[in-house]
Amino acid sequence: MFFKVQIPLIITFIVGAALVIAMFVPHFPFYEANENFSIYFDLIAVFAFILGGGNLLKIHGDRIWRKGRDWKYSIVTVVGFLAMLIVGTLKIGGPPGFTGDVSASDSWFGFMYYSMFVPLQSTMFSLLAFFVASASYRAFRAKTKEATMLLVAAFIILIGRTPLGHYVTGWLPPQLQFLHIPNLSNWILSVPSMAGQRAIMIGIALGIISTSLKLILGIERSYLGGESK
């Protein structure tokens, strides 16, 4: 138990507390800890990529081996993964010289990046244009007072964020300019919406501060599997 629970808790405490203290104490060892821990974390994150790759091969390899559901598509995943990995890690097909930038656009790796990764990523992302439309069709209905607030705010901003807003209410006399839709939408963003955002931010900050504190002090330890509370 000591090695499985106590040591991790001690490590978390030391690292977390040192980083909090470093905010107030620009002195050895806290300052140095603050500087180095970020880099340490990034390095551990790279090991996590490797762990992820290992798991990906394990999962899809298993599926192919057992001829599980959609196993033929798993071959696509594995082939894509290995091809990209080998070309990139060994810098096959450029960049010129081993020291060059791995993602140089004229290398093989660059080619795979631009011909597959980029279009797939952008297209997946662009599906949002459709989903945002279908979601607004369903959600923006004046069903309750709350839903009406949501609807009205969204509607004004929708119009106000395009040149459309200028055409719709551009004719208003100067004393009613505050009702001009671009002005109104800016007002909504910078006053009531900002008020809501601020309250959310303050609340979140407190939630995070409290959770961080519980983690540092070992009160919250579900990440260890929640043993010995």
């Binding site: 991790p8 180095n36 970020s38 290995l82 011909s115 395009t162 505050f178 008020a195 809501g196």
Partner: protein
């Protein structure tokens, strides 16, 4: 030639993903599985070349990497980087069932790092910073007169922040005046959500425009 080839692959994959909007189909499945494999490898390769090599191997043993990456000629080994290397290797024990518990030590470092950095970051910019930003005069005077519009905005802002904060109170029943204020708070939250949603639509349409232009470019090479 390479560019046309690239454009063709890209355009076909684009159409495969879009086909999902109609319904799930083998083309989408193909694109999806390819994307998973390619992207996992992409992040691994980038991690290796932009971080692992220069910042770990290069720092512990700069001479070992001559000809592999460019290191400053006078680079000295920094042995304290063995610490993250050990943690990283402990992380990999996950792949071996019997000793996988060792990865908890590395996880403990990650959690400690998360807690420490998040604590200070949110305390500073999101808690203290937002309180500071909210302390503004409720009555705005400009050139000797009360500016009605600005005053109204200032009051709405403060009422909004306070009432929405009341909504987040967990340890008090939301009834009576407290409950009414908290309901007002929800309205402000709803306005914030509606505004953000409305604002976002633009971003999403832009993305689609980008894709359509890309397909247009591809079609132009055919006709």
């Amino acid at each position: 030639m390479a560019h046309t080839f690239e454009l063709w692959i890209g355009a076909l994959l684009t159409l495969m993903i879009f086909s999902f909007l109609y319904k799930d189909n083998p083309f989408y499945k193909f694109a999806e599985h390819l994307f998973v494999g390619v992207s996992a490898a992409y992040w691994m390769v980038i991690g290796i070349w932009s971080t692992l090599m220069p910042n770990l191997v290069g720092r512990i043993a700069p001479n070992a990497l001559q000809g592999v990456i460019n290191m400053p000629e006078d680079a000295q080994p920094q042995y304290h980087f063995i610490v993250p290397a050990i943690f990283g290797l402990l992380m990999l024990t996950r792949l071996v069932e019997r000793i996988s518990w060792l990865s908890r030590w590395a996880m403990a470092f990650v959690i400690g790092f998360a807690a420490g950095t998040n604590f200070t970051r949110y305390l500073q910019s999101d808690f203290v910073g937002q309180i500071y930003n909210s302390m503004l005069p409720l009555v705005v005077v400009s050139s000797g007169h009360v500016a009605i519009g600005a005053t109204f905005s200032a009051i709405v802002l403060i009422v909004g922040v306070i009432s929405a904060l009341i909504y987040f109170f967990f340890s008090k029943e939301h009834t009576g005046a407290f409950g009414a204020t908290s309901r007002l708070g929800i309205w402000f939250l709803m306005v914030a959500f509606g505004a953000a949603f409305g604002y976002t639509v633009m971003a999403r349409i832009s993305l689609l425009t980008g894709r359509m232009q890309y397909l247009g470019e591809w079609l132009a090479t055919i006709f």
